[in-house]
Amino acid sequence: MAIVNLQNVTYKYPLTDSPALQNINLQVKEGEFLAVIGPNGAGKSTLCYTLAGFVPHFFKGELTGTVEVASQESSKSNLSEWVLNVGLAFQNPFNQISGAKFTVFEEIAFGLENTGVPRDEMKVRVEDAMKLTEISDLADRSPYSLSGGQQQRVALTSILVMQPKVLVLDEPTSQMDPIGTREVFGVIRTMAEKGMTVVLVEHKVEWIANFADRVVALHEGQIILDGKPREVLTSDALLDKGFGISRYTSVARKAKEQGLWNKADLPITLGEAVEGFRK
């Protein structure tokens, strides 16, 4: 059953002429891991803001169509209620630290304090969430004294602790080094394994290939492809449009032109590439 349901969604930011999203129809099943790819300016962040209720409750402008999560309609709810449906984490970990708390433990509890969770339950939920994302050892540190990867894990934990029905991640590793990226994807993997519904916008397609159940390609505000990771990530429709393409796919595509790749499908992961080239 679809937990996220977008019907004919078109959105224009204030003072702009062209829509950032055009006629988007998108359903995400409960427990599904959906990855969204697209070049810069494709509308990926706008899609995240729309799912998370910031369009239209924070960013004004014109929104048409319907955005439903768990059978509730976004335009009929308010932002502070909607955040309990959809959790949003984004690129810059530094700007996601509230600034209101002095330790990581307090930082993670911030959202629960705001939504009126009783103290005893709050402590248990914070501890559980920190265990899940493996940051229990950071509990007493200042959020500002952490590395980028650690800060991003704190930001993710701060959202997870609120137990949203859907987790929306807007390029959570774009400012991370390889170590930070691995740390953050470790958390995302745990979420996927727990059966959480995740919508992940990401440029690092090699990671998507390992996680996603389904991939949507967004271009100039429209969905141009929607399907299984292999189908979408190896599609010729992505070429020359500024999409990030896995280096494994690119190498195999070149090799295929030279007659050096004999398999029917192009690879999307390192393992597949190694296997294909061995043959």
Binding site: F94, N95, P118, M162
Partner: protein, 259 residues
């Protein structure tokens, strides 16, 4: 960059366990009594007989004396000298320095003013050393202070050091591209624009992102907020606050009665 974000020193003392509001009332009462009391020696006595013992009781005497030598003594010393020389009161000239006369009255006035300022700074110092800012704000929010107001106070404590660090990065970046920030005054003044521009605009962008981040965590939720910290407010705290208020009123009455 990640230095201490507040003056608070974590210790286990009776003072630390007092309710934050009680400490606010205590610090303000000391200051008010120092300023209202009609006697010249009140502030000095308050400093030595109240504030210093309180700092010992709060196990923050070392930190207190460090700030006393760095801030309280220089600030009140400066005020003493300025008042003694430039306060045009009294006739009994004790000594002359160039065209400036120091009279007995101006000396007394300077003594009274500088000791009051010393009490004011040291009372706040004591308060800041023993009160965690987030505990204070949680307690005040629970008592009805708007959450947004508390957020502004607390976040500026944390975000200002980050902005300082960012300003330093921008200075380094602009200097590496040849911007002169160290020669004549005029050149330095001209260098302000390429330094302040990126800092201000960068911060404005950050404000939007931070607003989204805290909204995503229910900051404007209409639920009644709860607090992670259980901040005790004992009967003793309540009694202390009433006694302190009584002391301030008594001092006020004495001042009016004696004048």
């Amino acid at each position: 960059m990640h230095g201490r974000l507040s003056f608070y020193v974590r210790r286990d003392s009776a003072i630390h366990h007092l309710n934050p509001l009680t400490k606010v009332v205590l610090a303000l009462s000391i200051i008010l009594v120092a300023f209202i009391a009609p006697w010249d020696w009140t502030a000095t006595l308050l400093f030595f007989l109240v504030i210093v013992p309180l700092c010992f009781a709060g196990k923050v005497s070392r930190e207190f004396f460090r700030s006393a030598t760095r801030l309280i003594i220089p600030a009140s010393g400066f005020i003493f000298i300025m008042q003694a020389f430039f306060q045009p009161v009294g006739q009994d000239i004790i000594f002359k320095f160039w065209f400036l006369d120091v009279t007995q009255e101006s000396l007394i006035f300077a003594f009274r003013t500088s000791t009051r300022i010393a009490v004011m700074i040291s009372s706040f110092t004591f308060f800041l050393l023993t009160t965690h800012p987030s505990e204070l704000m949680s307690d005040l929010t629970r008592r009805g202070l708007p959450g947004q107001f508390a957020y502004v106070i607390i976040s500026s404590l944390q975000i200002l050091p980050q902005m300082q660090a960012k300003a330093q990065t921008i200075i380094s970046a602009q200097r590496s591209r040849g911007l002169d920030t160290e020669s004549t005054f005029l050149k330095r003044a001209g260098a302000i624009v390429p330094l302040v521009g990126p800092l201000v605009f960068g911060s404005l962008v950050e404000v939007e992102e931070r607003a989204i981040a805290i909204e995503a965590r229910g900051f404007t939720s209409t639920h009644k907020k709860t607090s992670l910290q259980n901040i005790a407010d004992s009967g003793m705290d309540k009694i202390m606050r009433w006694v302190l208020l009584g002391l301030v009123i008594t001092t006020l009455v004495l001042n009016i009665w004696l004048s």
